[in-house]
């Protein structure tokens, strides 16, 4: 019989705005197991874990560790009880070094002062032990997202946590990095640690977890042994219906060039060439995917294309118009729609209503205003329609976006960008951290728009599944350059892609010539 290390009994968490995020949830964890905690966006997973980690206090319910009733009032209590948490969103201090980030809260001291050298040594030891290749002296802001995630994991490991919570740790990792992480998790499991693993990627859940607990709308639907379940069983429990994970799509019929990129170069503030002579076209009716380890110039490419940032040399034309020196507004008018990578920063204004968020790119058009005034009635109708079309779960159109769950926030962004009437969609990580149901809908819409409306799409994603599923042509970026180009995405294997992403293989300009 498995030994129970943790039990959360009848947890109810009500947020200050009256929202009940956890409703009488009972949940337990056995020693040495990896438990999956799944559920749609907003189901209450993170909330439950925050309660466990002392970041939120529940209105009722109790927590037992090793059968003993404990009170967890703040994170310090949780850490003392041997609980560690890798948060869904980074909890890092970009301006500090890796060592300082890792040591923060448990700083080694010498003669009453912070002993930086010792902190470096400690960090190096953990990094070596778990084979994380990270320099403790580098600043966190200079790291790639994948490396940041490793720093987060080191923070938990160095505290010797016995119960480890991982809230979507793989959302930003490459397959290879994910594999590495999983090896470590299995090692930890062997070592007697117990792990709670939250993820929207069900194949990962299936791969390393032995049991799954499902949450929906704040309720716990129960715990299930994973042995006799497949991915669609899980997703059915999560969303309440079958989710189609494969996208059927016809072959593309690319027509004229919509976006033309020639010898694009971008040098950043520190003098580094972050985009290094990229050239390719995107044609009407096709989806071009870009894969790559994050931090290899994809973000910069997307910033340049949408006008958020300037470039140093080269040429970009959208519908035959040069974007050099143009504002975002002007580029959008040329036919750009843009799903940004970080939805909370560039995709929405969290404190504003759904309505305000949806009209942000078009309020100035004549049909939305009457002189200097906004046509509220007309817009209200339109937004209500979009909420229905895109299945945005919310109270009403006047609800602030921050009150929605991550997936629904992304739906708001997608609703805006997909209805903007543009013929070029730049989609950067459109489904990051989004549950299967919502992701399915967004991916399908991307493909559908390219087939039925002839939209030219540039899909940048770290989720290989996604680029392979949705793209027609597929490019790989590394160190600011295009290092591989495949004419048919669905003929490429994940492992092959991974080799190009990590720089093990590179295509020559000649090999790629006809694909760009």
């Amino acid at each position: 019989m498995a030994q129970e290390v943790l039990r959360m009994d009848n947890i109810t968490k009500i947020y200050d705005n009256g929202f009940v995020a956890n409703k009488n949830i009972t949940f337990w964890l056995n020693k040495g197991e990896i438990l999956a905690l799944v559920g749609e966006n907003g189901a209450g997973k993170t909330t439950l874990m925050k309660v466990l980690f002392g970041l939120e206090s529940p209105q009722s319910g109790s927590v037992y560790i090793n059968g003993e009733h404990v009170k967890i009032e703040n994170t310090l209590d949780a850490i003392d009880k041997g609980i560690g948490m890798v948060h869904q969103h980074f909890m890092l201090l970009p301006s500090l070094t890796v060592a300082e980030n890792v040591a923060l809260g448990i700083e080694p001291m010498k003669k009453g002062l912070f002993d930086f050298n010792k902190a470096v040594k400690m960090t190096q030891e953990v990094a070596d032990k778990y084979r994380f290749n990270i320099d403790p002296l580098s600043k966190v802001e200079d790291l790639s997202v994948g490396q940041m995630q490793k720093v987060e994991i080191m923070k938990v490991l160095i505290r010797g946590a016995k119960i480890i919570i991982m809230d979507e740790p793989t959302a930003v990792l490459t397959p290879q990095e994910t594999d590495e992480l999983f090896e470590q998790l299995l090692l930890l499991k062997e070592g007697g640690h117990s792990i709670i693993f939250i993820s929207h990627k069900l194949e990962e859940v299936k791969r390393i977890c032995s049991r799954v607990t499902v949450l929906r709308h704040g309720y716990c639907l129960g715990s299930y042994e994973l042995e006799n379940m497949n991915e669609s069983d899980i997703s059915r429990l999560m969303v309440g219906r079958d989710v189609v994970l494969k996208i059927d799509k016809e072959d593309p019929k690319p027509e004229e060039v919509v976006v033309k990129i020639k010898n694009l170069v971008k040098i950043n503030e520190t003098g580094k060439k972050v985009i290094d002579g990229i050239s390719f076209d995107i044609r009407k009716g096709e989806v071009v995917g870009i894969a790559g380890v994050e931090g290899n110039g994809q973000s910069e490419l997307s910033d340049v294309l949408c006008g958020m940032d300037t470039f140093s040399s080269g040429e970009v034309k959208i519908n035959n118009q040069d974007i050099a020196g143009k504002t975002v507004h002007e580029i959008r008018k040329m036919g750009l729609a843009y799903i940004p990578e970080d939805r909370m920063r560039h995709g929405c204004a969290p404190d504003l209503s759904i309505k305000d968020n949806i009209i942000s790119d078009r309020f100035f058009l004549p049909e939305y205003r009457k002189g200097l005034f906004i046509k509220h009635k007309y817009i209200d109708q339109l937004v209500d329609q979009y909420i229905k079309d895109f299945e945005i779960a919310c109270d009403d159109k006047n609800q602030p976006v921050r009150m929605l769950s991550g997936g629904n926030i992304q739906k708001v962004v997608v609703a805006r960008e997909f209805t903007s009437g543009s013929n070029f969609i730049l989609a950067n990580q459109p489904t990051r951290g989004i549950d299967v149901g919502a992701a399915e809908m967004i991916r399908k819409t991307i493909v559908k728009k390219s087939r039925t409306e002839g939209t030219a799409t540039l899909l940048i994603s770290a989720d290989l599944n996604e680029v392979l599923e949705c793209s027609d042509r597929l490019l790989v970026m590394r160190k600011g350059k295009v290092v591989a180009a495949f004419p048919k995405a669905n003929e490429v294997s994940e492992d092959e892609l991974g080799e190009y992403m990590l720089g093990i293989k590179t295509m020559t300009a000649k090999e790629m010539e006809n694909v760009l």
């Binding site: 639907l221 309440g240 079958d242 200097l372 906004i374």
Partner: protein
């Protein structure tokens, strides 16, 4: 969620009343130590401002400049720019408007032309002045707090210089400008209340600002830019333009405020120090939760406290400075969001829990049953 909002509003009202009550109680306790007749003093402080028509008029007159600077800071806050130049603009606009009125007075313009011209002059002054920090911040990234604070000091000296060398009245003993011509002055209306006619301009300003904020395209832009500038940029909203224009409108309002104050309450310009109306406006805007519609109300609240202080000062043995301390306590308690926050939360939790009484087991089964039917329906529709 409507329930939550109702609880919040109720608690908010109760909270403000309790806060004021507590502040007065503190005042009373301190007064017992230092005054011969604390009850009398407190009564004067609380009821004194409302004891005569003239005092009620004084409250309203005092609330007028607060309203203008309060609205000014609503704009600064709306685009998240901590531009403090409203303080300096208020004084400087008073100076420029007086100077203009003295010059125009010679030409014998009738009030219908004179007064609008002067108001425009005040607005223009605010417009131009607020352009400096706004522009330096937007284009050169020069810290707006620093620039506007420095600018305020510069404006004080500039006003004094203009007063001394441009319009001083040599026939009076103290430092003051030549008298403002009769044709430029606001009438005092409502008989004994003696309210200055600037009140109409203030009311119009509140309405216009409310329309800008909630009905106009520009208000929408400000909201987006202020709420999340990165998002505004990614949406293609002209950020710089919006941010600068909002500050210019704010500055203009402070300028009109200075003009109304001078034309409504003064015979001549005689400020030789910053008037603090800007910082008062900042308080008013924060107390009003940056909502222009609430600005007149919080202005009246602040004016009421100030007049109360004056009444106490002239009636009793308590120096006026004591009241500034009490005023600080009132403002802090009223603005403290956590004050009675526990009480509010308990009400909200209770309401939420009442909704949650239903048995968990049943709910979960219902959800699962619901799934079944959905899946069925889906299958059917696929077939």
């Amino acid at each position: 969620m409507n329930k939550t909002r109702r609880i919040e509003t109720t608690v908010e009202l109760v909270r403000i009343l309790v806060a004021i009550g507590i502040a007065y109680l503190i005042a009373l306790i301190i007064l017992y130590a230092i005054s011969d007749d604390p009850i009398f003093i407190i009564r004067q402080f609380v009821l004194g401002p409302l004891s005569s028509q003239r005092r009620i008029g004084s409250i309203i007159n005092l609330a007028i400049p607060f309203t203008f600077t309060g609205l000014c800071f609503c704009f600064m806050y709306a685009v998240n720019k901590f531009n403090l130049s409203g303080e300096g603009i208020f004084m400087f606009s008073g100076c420029i408007v007086t100077l203009t009125s003295i010059y125009l007075g010679k030409s014998g313009l009738p009030p219908v032309i004179m007064i609008p011209t002067l108001l425009i002059m005040g607005a223009l002054t605010g417009f131009v002045i607020s352009l400096i920090p706004a522009y330096l911040d937007a284009k050169l990234n020069a810290n707006i707090v620093v620039v506007s604070l420095m600018l305020n000091s510069i404006l004080v000296f500039l006003s004094i210089w203009i007063l001394k060398y441009g319009m001083r009245d040599p026939s009076i003993g103290s430092l003051g400008s030549l008298p403002i011509p009769e044709t430029a002055r606001f009438a005092s209306i409502f008989g004994k209340f003696k309210i200055q006619a600037g009140i109409f301009i203030a009311i119009i300003a509140v309405i216009v600002v409310a329309i800008i904020f909630y009905k106009m395209v520009f208000g929408y832009k400000m909201r987006v830019v202020g709420s999340n500038p990165s998002f505004a940029k990614a949406s293609g909203i002209n950020m710089l333009g919006t941010i600068i224009l909002a500050q210019l409108i704010g500055g203009s309002l402070a300028g009109i405020g200075g003009a109304c104050e001078i034309l409504g309450n003064y015979d001549r310009f005689k400020w030789s120090a910053s008037t603090q109306h800007g910082f008062d406006g900042l308080m008013v805007a924060v107390l009003a939760r940056r909502n222009p519609i609430l600005v007149p109300i919080t202005s009246l609240l602040l004016a009421y406290i100030r007049i109360g202080a004056d009444v106490v000062n002239s009636k009793g043995d308590i120096p006026i400075e004591f009241i500034t301390v009490i005023q600080g306590i009132v403002i802090l308690l009223v603005a403290a969001e956590e004050f009675m926050g526990g009480f509010k939360k308990r009400l909200i939790y209770k309401a939420a829990k009442d909704d949650l009484k239903s048995d968990k087991e049943i709910v979960v089964q219902e959800i699962l049953a619901d799934d079944e039917s959905k899946t069925e329906a889906r299958k059917e529709s696929m077939e």
